[in-house]
Symmetry: C2
Amino acid sequence: MNLDTITIRDIARELKLSVSTVSKALRDSYEISEKTKKLVSEYAAAHNYRPNPIAQSLKKGQSKSVGIVVSSVDNQFYSQVINGIESVAYKEGYNIFITQTHESFDLELKNVTHLTHRSIDGLLISLSSETKDVEHLQALHKKGLPIVFFDRVTDDINTHKVIVDNFNGAYNATLHLLQSGYKRIAHITSPAQLSITGGRLNGYKQALTDNGIAVDERYIKYCMHGGKDFDEIEQAVNELLAMKERPDAIFTASDRITTSVLSLLHKNNIAIPQQVALLGFTNTLLGEVLNPSLSTVVQPAFEIGKQSMELLLGIIKSKHPVTKFETRVLPTALFERNSSRRS
Amino acid sequence: MNLDTITIRDIARELKLSVSTVSKALRDSYEISEKTKKLVSEYAAAHNYRPNPIAQSLKKGQSKSVGIVVSSVDNQFYSQVINGIESVAYKEGYNIFITQTHESFDLELKNVTHLTHRSIDGLLISLSSETKDVEHLQALHKKGLPIVFFDRVTDDINTHKVIVDNFNGAYNATLHLLQSGYKRIAHITSPAQLSITGGRLNGYKQALTDNGIAVDERYIKYCMHGGKDFDEIEQAVNELLAMKERPDAIFTASDRITTSVLSLLHKNNIAIPQQVALLGFTNTLLGEVLNPSLSTVVQPAFEIGKQSMELLLGIIKSKHPVTKFETRVLPTALFERNSSRRS
DNA sequence: ATGAAAGCGCTAACAC
DNA sequence: GTGTTAGCGCTTTCAT
């Protein structure tokens, strides 16, 4: 739809000037007399002129917009990250476009393609849980599109990244469960190819071995769709509950998985933490008021978004190609509540 | 950024054809021979040609994109609505841009302006809680921008709307509290100017008077920022708790308010429902596992999004200006759980 | 200080 | 069946 009724051409015609003079006057060029500038800007204001950003983008190849790709905004962690991104974007006059992959590689590809073709100046992305191959992003990166990864990153592309200390977050969480007296600690996590999975898994394993407990692979369950499918989480929980040596605690590795496991334990009438304790990564604001109050590993989501956008703007605004990149690792916070109370 | 290295011009040069022939071949025009079409499309595929939608938009004044404006994606209701919108948008080849107002009129204006200037074909919007004047939308509507309102609508613009039956949702909720034995039922709601506020307030009042209970205005609290500010909700709760005739139940009118009130009652060590019962509008998936399990009025959020997008596409695709509009009113569902159990 | 004109990538009248 | 050309709204040399 073309809603901008008045164009630079209209102004030129009315004021008996050329389009270029009007364009320059509007952009406050030194070539134009103050008198003309005043004339033009007043006419423009009076007629509510707005430059057409589509035409500007086409011409300048720059859009003052950045794209965001997350798996789902229906997730406190990502919505908080987005708020952090917005906090710096708006301040700098950038607009953002939010898209969701729903953990699908195809949708990730589609969204990234659409965003880049609508001329974004940069991309902020957390990979879908299906994504194994990042060639689509590699290609864009090589063409010079500024990209910053957060949360779920890839080693295959050298650019800025903002993540949390997944290893220590998981280590401390598992340690807390051990210190609370739990011995058979299960772990339900995302697909192995996700960057976050490895760090959290290793932290969990290390805490066990450091405390003289052997890692039992039967206690480790992967949700291939990153928790998008309630069914796969249910299957994991059911398998754990059916074990002869049933785990006495579950450590969950992502937002959706954590809250879903809580629901499933309720559904199965499992007393928490008496029969099975629960502690997991989640940024829900409701930890305190869940039944029982939920022990959580919380990520500084707003800060992740803020720093990601700052780094992205650094690349966008840089005069020279950026070749030196950094990976920021932020700390997580452990909230010990009743779901992991000493049994 | 211009990332589309290969353009229609490049293809034309390589194949020794004109740009228009290539353009037509790509668009499968009847004027072009099969042989040429094949040649062009194969070359395009081989070189990963993608049309530049910016240029297409500029030319055609059409973008195959729609904009969404909600107060915050950090809200289960809106994120579910968005999923509903996406479900039909993707099927029809449309992309969506999500923006947030954070209940600010200024941000609403800014987002709407940005979206329309980036050439969207239509707008789906739920008003911010600050919005009293809809002139900015009125102007776009008059210029012919297809708009569909959902959730928080306005009477001042005649277009399609998708809402829920707020009156009956609130009536039935209040009735349930009355039937459970509660007598002094407070109501915490959004600002009075929001469309949803009136319906819910009236349903609440009607249920009281139908049951011989006089409406007491001191029991009705408005949160001027729609629950965005935790502080204003806290103040409302504190005022209610400090009353000599303290309410024995609270009926809350929106997602954020409901969960915040639950947190606040916990914080004040109020036994739910023994001291104060709680029931409210919310689309949280965690109702069952809250402490106590939370009685809720749930909206068909996905369906709201789906129908809104269908109606919007109806306007977009219509050959003639649409003048006959409808308002769809969907039912809410009441889930009776422990927070409103008979005391 | 101002204007003419080219061009961003594409589409579509209108030629040939 | 294919090519030429103008133009979407804007910016930007390059003239004047």
